[in-house]
Amino acid sequence: MPGTLAAIADPAVREAFREWLLRMADDELVIGHRHSEWTGVGPDIESDVAMSSIAQEELGHARALYEQIAEDEGGDADRLAFGRAAGEYRHAALLEQENEGWEYSIVRLVLYETFEVARLRLVAASGQEPVAGLAQLLTREERYHALFGETWLRRLAGGAPDGPERIQAAVDKAWPDALGLFEATPADALLQHAGVLRTSPGAECDAWVEAVRPVLEGCGLRIPTVTAREGGRRGVHTPAFEELLAQMTEVWRSDPEARW
């Protein structure tokens, strides 16, 4: 069975869709590693296990997406995940920021999951098989992450005495990076023009704000009015990523040919 990319006849569309798949996989890989940093130190045992499970799922999703690319290029998913220079990663800055407190991690989880489900629906509707089918399946797994995140968000926002302030500060900190999820690149315009994706990053962003608004406002939180911090989709990352990359690739780099 040919993979998703091999089935696309137009080389420019194929390259743009590869960029999209890589971006999705990189987002999942990087947030998976950040979530995993809560393993052993979560606020309670259930949340610790939950965040670790969410981390494991995001890494599993990244693996499935890298396999989609690797399959058509004769490469391997691990090399794509761990064998690139920092500037070759396409995730948004939101995913690479350090876990500055549980409240920041929960806010980031809620903002990212809302984005991720909408993006998976776009890919599911793209008609590009088999990845469209894969995206459909992934939305079912992401659902539990959003439930967990939103439950914790309500709990933190209702926490006395400084809960509301601290969680609002986390929203304010995450917001510019979250808007960076929608950084427009030539690949987006090309895929929209080719009819593969039925939206633009701008429209995607507007829909996302309207989706997170009731969740945040329902917790008494305000939507910040700040501009996006971009760069991630073009491979420009913050110093936090250099450190994360060094750590998460350490084992792989020690022997790239090792088989497990």
Partner: protein, 160 residues
């Protein structure tokens, strides 16, 4: 199909029924992981439906299936692929698989995860969810308020 091919296909299904899931104590056939089997001469192709895409056991299952297929007399080579064109749902579980999971102490929803959970020990509905995230991706943890036993419940991916 020739009778030789039919016999080989039967042998393939028999060996698949002997492959156990690494995280649940039942066969992958009872778990509903086998989508289809194609026999072409000495080549066998099996397509599997993953329960969870993120399941860390997928690679182990694939290699167990491949090794099992290659142990069948008359099979020269085997391909094992996961397919994404159909979701795994609770109705893929066989009656026997369901009974085996229940005997193992796992609560198994009849149709949907959203239905009211039942304690596998005393049958009470007076249970409270402790966490949607249990010891594996496919299990959630609960506490029964009637018999005071903690228990685990099979958790399929959410309804789309």
């Amino acid at each position: 199909m020739t009778s030789a091919a039919a016999a080989l296909e039967r042998a393939v299904w028999d060996i698949l029924a002997s492959v156990e899931d690494p995280e649940l104590p039942i066969s992958i056939v009872d778990l509903g992981l086998v989508r289809d089997v194609q026999v072409d001469g000495e080549h066998v192709a099996v397509r599997l439906v993953p329960t969870w895409i993120a399941c860390p056991a997928l690679a182990v299952i694939r290699s167990r299936v491949r090794n099992a297929l290659l142990s069948v007399a008359g099979v020269r080579d085997a391909s094992v692929e996961y397919t994404y064109d159909q979701p795994w749902t609770l109705d893929r579980l066989s009656t026997r698989g369901r009974a085996q999971l229940t005997a193992h102490g796992l609560s198994v929803p009849a149709c949907r995860f959203a239905e009211p959970p039942v304690c596998p020990y005393c049958g009470s509905h007076d249970v409270v969810a402790e966490s949607l995230f249990g010891p594996t991706l496919c299990r959630a943890t609960y506490l029964c308020r009637a018999c005071h036993n903690p228990f685990e419940r099979l958790k399929p991916p959410a309804d789309a």
